[in-house]
């Protein structure tokens, strides 16, 4: 059996699952099995049916050209579309790829269409599907290129910008599922402030990241190198701002998207190689394959920790069974004391978080007041200038005003994004060193060396966030805590919290909805100044309200996540105490029965553990 097969058999073992439910999760049998859900999630990940890698990049980054070159023999994904409706497009591997694309709608309908640029345009082009009125959830295409053989699924994700409400959730789900991300950046302009925020948020929560810098034909090598140096510096900053562990500078792959596409269309292998795409794909493929191994190792570590903890619980109970009442009482008291000091520590940190968030709300409020004043003034001045230039006609004014509003709004959104990122880093500091509540037995703890820990660091990071989105998959947050525990590193609430709030931050950045909203209000302009200035006031106060709401939501959800996490720990402790009380109050024959069950469980645990351990050695 390979290590992968062994871990699969452990994950599928119903008995093992019950043991973890009982001894580690401490749930009663009538409840839904959290371990089963988690292990099923692992199974799905290990099955490697899907290794989701997202591609993100702003308009004009060459993302569509690159995807076409990667997956197809001709142009299938529309390129040069000035305004695409943001519909996620998924490309997955198939031995005999279908020549059709599957369109999934929000309401559950599906539709098969020929996989051609012309047909896809009907769903992704702003003209045919403005604001995604068609309600498209996602489009799935197939490709037989070797890059997909590892199970990789490439997803063309809408970047920052206009993500319609309809497929926001789909996008989030893709982000949660993603194990890798390819950021397509431009040579000129190099990474902008909004891009930097977006990259930071997504990079921090995805196991591996690739940076692909597109060089158009009219950009010289010299320019491209210079821009690459600049981008590299920016990435270094983003990494340090987001506490992302990287070794040295993150390499940026320079690819000429146009040349790559030409190479594919003309079957010109040399041209394709010179474009840089081949090298990039090789790196991506290597990474994807290594990732599968890392994932197996990570899951094995997580499951091993489960069983070690279970073993300790079993031994603890066995010991108590032969102890007298007084000894059990002592033990209960001792644990109560230990828990008391643990929970105090958690509460203290929680208070620290609360204070921090309060401060954040305050500084943001001050910032917003300042922003409101200066943006109002700026808008009024800019509109005055336009009046003086003779722009007093209704629709013209409306358009001009909309442009101006989008500028000041963008500033505010960028600022908020940066604040939230900074706040998250602060949050990691606050909870540094706080682990889940767990049984204290000095023996048989798996000691992880420092080197090993670094090795797992990048693994811990992704799992920390995988599936942690709001209402996302169940497994992810557990995995985060579990892996953290296995590594002896802070596996505390941070994973749960960050997973939960990043979604909000991203949601907040996709904020052009605001502009759209206010635009309706200004529709009836006839005479300038007063009406325009009133509209400016409306816009500022509406934007302010929305920003307040966003940041408030960030605070509420963050606090709620911490509270929930804390309550889980309390629940675990209480279950432990109940268990000990049960043993204390049990009759002799009951004890004998318990003893028997424990022995059986112990054997099972050892059996499964040895299966995992052989695998990991």
């Amino acid at each position: 059996m390979t290590s992968r097969e062994r871990i699969l058999s452990v994950l599928k073992n119903a008995d093992g699952c019950r043991i973890i439910d009982h001894h580690v999760e401490k749930v009663t049998s009538d409840k839904q099995s959290p371990t089963r859900m988690r292990y099923d999630h692992y199974l799905k990940q290990l099955a490697a049916e899907r290794l989701v890698v997202t591609l993100t990049g702003v308009q004009g980054s060459g993302k569509s050209s690159i995807l076409n070159a990667i997956a197809f023999d001709n142009i299938v994904l529309p390129i040069d579309v000035p305004e695409t409706t943001c519909v996620p497009v998924e490309i997955c591997g198939a031995v005999e790829p279908s020549s059709e694309a599957m369109v999934y709608f929000v309401d559950g309908r599906t539709e098969r269409i020929p996989a051609t640029e012309e047909n896809l345009n009907r769903y992704v082009h702003q003209t045919y599907n403005p604001g995604n009125t068609l309600g498209v959830d996602r489009i799935v295409l197939q490709s037989d290129r070797p890059i997909f053989r590892s199970g990789m699924v490439l997803v063309d994700l809408p970047g920052t910008g206009s993500l319609t409400e309809a497929n926001k959730e789909t996008t989030r789900a893709y982000l949660d599922e993603a194990v890798g991300v390819v950021f397509v950046i431009r040579t000129v302009p190099p990474i902008t402030r909004s891009e930097a925020i977006y990259i930071g948020l997504q990079w921090a929560r995805t196991p591996f990241a690739f940076f692909l810098q597109n060089r158009w034909n009219d950009e010289t090598f010299h320019e491209s190198n210079s821009a690459r140096d600049h981008n590299q510096n920016i990435l270094k900053d983003i990494a340090s701002r987001n506490r992302i562990v990287i070794e040295g500078a993150e390499p940026i792959h320079v690819v000429n998207a146009y040349a790559a596409l030409e190479g594919v269309l003309n079957d010109d292998t040399t041209g394709l190689e010179e474009s840089g795409l081949t090298t990039f794909l090789k790196a991506l493929d290597d990474r994807a394959r290594v990732w599968t191994e890392q994932l197996t190792a990570g899951i094995a570590a997580s499951v091993e920790t489960d069983f070690i903890t279970a073993l300790k619980e079993v031994d603890d109970s066995t010991e108590l069974l032969s102890a007298d009442r007084e000894q059990i009482e002592d033990r209960i008291k001792q644990e109560e004391k230990r828990f008391e000091s643990y929970i105090q520590k958690v509460k203290l940190r929680q208070q620290g978080l609360s204070d921090d968030l309060k401060k954040l709300i305050k500084t943001e409020e001050a910032w917003r007041t300042n922003w409101s004043n200066s943006s109002g003034a700026q808008l009024r001045n800019n509109m005055r200038t336009k009046f003086r230039q003779g722009i007093i006609d209704g629709s013209r004014l409306e358009k001009a005003m909309h442009d101006e509003e989008s500028l000041v709004l963008n500033d505010a959104l960028e600022h908020m994004g940066e604040s939230i990122v900074a706040s998250q880093v602060g949050l990691c500091d606050i909870f540094e060193g706080i682990d889940e509540w767990k049984i204290s037995r000095p023996d048989c703890f798996k000691v992880v060396s420092k080197e090993e820990r670094t090795k797992y660091e990048n693994l811990a990071r992704p799992i920390l966030s995988a599936g942690g989105g709001v209402g996302g998959l169940v497994g992810g947050t557990y995995a985060a805590a579990k892996i953290g525990a296995a590594l002896g590193s802070p596996g505390g609430p941070v994973g749960a919290i960050i997973g939960g709030v990043v979604g909000i931050a991203i949601g907040g950045l996709l904020g052009s909805y605001l502009g759209g909203k206010t635009r309706e209000k200004v529709h009836e302009w006839t005479a300038p100044e007063k009406e325009v200035f009133d509209a400016i006031d409306d816009f500022i106060s509406q934007a302010s309200k929305d920003l307040t709401k966003q940041i408030g939501e960030y605070r509420t959800k963050t606090e709620a996540n911490v509270t929930k996490w804390k309550e889980t720990q309390i629940g675990k402790f209480e279950a432990e105490r109940r268990k000990r009380q049960d043993i204390r109050d049990a009759e002799k024959h009951e004890k004998a029965n318990m003893q028997k069950i424990l022995e059986k469980d112990r054997n099972r645990i050892c059996e499964l553990l040895s299966l995992i351990r052989v695998g990991s050695e």
Partner: protein, 619 residues
Amino acid sequence: MSQTLNASRSVCSQLIDLLERRGDIARVAVLRMLDVRLHNPQAYVTLVGETSSGKSTLVNALLKRQILPVGAQPTTATVTHVVCRHETGEQFFAIYRDATQENIDRSRFDSLSLSPTADLLRLQVRCKPGDANFAGLHVFDTPGYNSILNAHEEVLESFLPESDVVVLVVGYRTGFGQVEQDLFEMVSETACIDQQVPFFLAVNRSPPSAHAEDSRCKEILNKMQDCLGCTPPVVTIHSASTTMDFPPGQESASRIPEASALWERILNEINKPARLKAVEQKLCQLLVNIIYEVDFDLERQELKYEANEKELEEIKEQSQMLKKARDDSLAAVDTMAKRLEDILPRLLKQGIDSLITKSAQEIDATGKWTGAEDCIAWMEGHVLPFGIRELAHAMESFIADELERLDRELNEIANTAVRQMHSRARLKSNAVIAFAGNIARTLGERIGGAFAHNLFRAYGGVGGAAAGAGNLVKMGVARAGRLIGKTFSRQVYNTIGRTFTKKFLKRLGAVVAVVIEGILYVYESKTWQGKLKEKVKEALIEWKSETLTDLKSTQIPAIRKNNEESVRTFYDDLLADEDSGEQCKEDVCLLEETRSLRTDLASLMARLKDAGILLRDNG
């Protein structure tokens, strides 16, 4: 005056003696100014406003006689510095760009004011104000804001940050138009280096019935608020129709309005106890900074003189590390500037290309439902300036990213050097450790923004100091802040970057106006769209080439130069021996002299401490 001020005065003059013995010309020059300033209260007032808004008239009103030329035509084409003093008699000076000055007569003064020569920096009048209370006031009358953009920027950037009070002058009848909006937005951006600068809004040439609460003034104030982000007090100055009490025979006197309400308020503002106290503190702090610098200097000298051969060698090695840090810093600045040279033109080209496309689309879309006139207004009023603003914004944030990163890199280089100097000291002898400690403290001070040693350079050397144009109090803040510190180069960016967009727009306005001018009158209903597209393209390409030239020959070199200067200011004086290759002689006399100077300095410090002036912990 307070005790601290008295103590400062005497310490200052003693320090001058001490440094004169040492031949430290640069610091002596700064201290002499400080000395003057400690004895005489001063305040700097700058007047800004549109051409012919009556700024010079307001200054004449302060002097209660016509000294500055006034007229319907623009009469002030250069900055005039009015020094109010107790002595009677008027003296006129021309101050040149090479920091020399010349005593000139009245008629030469008048003619230079109207049409200044290229080498003229500014004019200066020293005279007695109408009311003796105003002695000590330095008033800067600036040229009106018009299309001579670069000249005006220089004016704003050099005078506003150093002003204690800024008077914004708007004509009651002419009101607040686009020119005012552009000017005062710029003023607000330039002045905000020191956010405490008080503004006064002088509504000039108002009819007798006008007052600060009337609708006209309110409208002006409203618009002013949107430029400044604050509400300045409003003072109306009535036209000089009624005669004032002037000696007969002076016809021009009748043209001088009564503006004492304005000047009294300014005087009140200047004499606010809080401000006076802050000024006093700043002056004392400056003195303290200079003392520390001198002490650090002398300590290094002393250590070098005292050191034995082996120690000296190691001290030299340490200086080498410092030298390397400086060279690395300069190299970092160079790399940064080169990246700007590579990327900015590219950004510019790309932005203009897409703006040309966008403009063409807009013009095509327009024709269907409106005419040429409307379309031209739309292009001029929104599409083009908005596009340019977006482009400027992209360029600005690229520069900001580069400078922020450079800032961190420079700080890192400095910190690494300091750490290395400590850890690599092999001898661990007192002299070597003390030397490293001295450098660490000195650099620490500088990172914190204490930069007295650069003030001299900031004044433009001896000549600039003698001309006495700098506001010592403000300079201490603005200059030091503008140098190294947590915001190593951010400040440099601010001074350059903030006005970047404005400059862009101004130039665009000029180009577009010229190119589009004719088209309104000659267009034909069928062909105007094509022609307009061509013209817009032409205008944008011309703008691009002008901007590119400006970037390459002015903006980027300025960024490079400012940062290089920051680095040099940071290290050069510490490396003077290293750079000159001078050997440190073991000179018993020098050692003793240095020691005695340090003893004197220590007693000066003690005096300041006794006087309650806070000395920093020199640990």
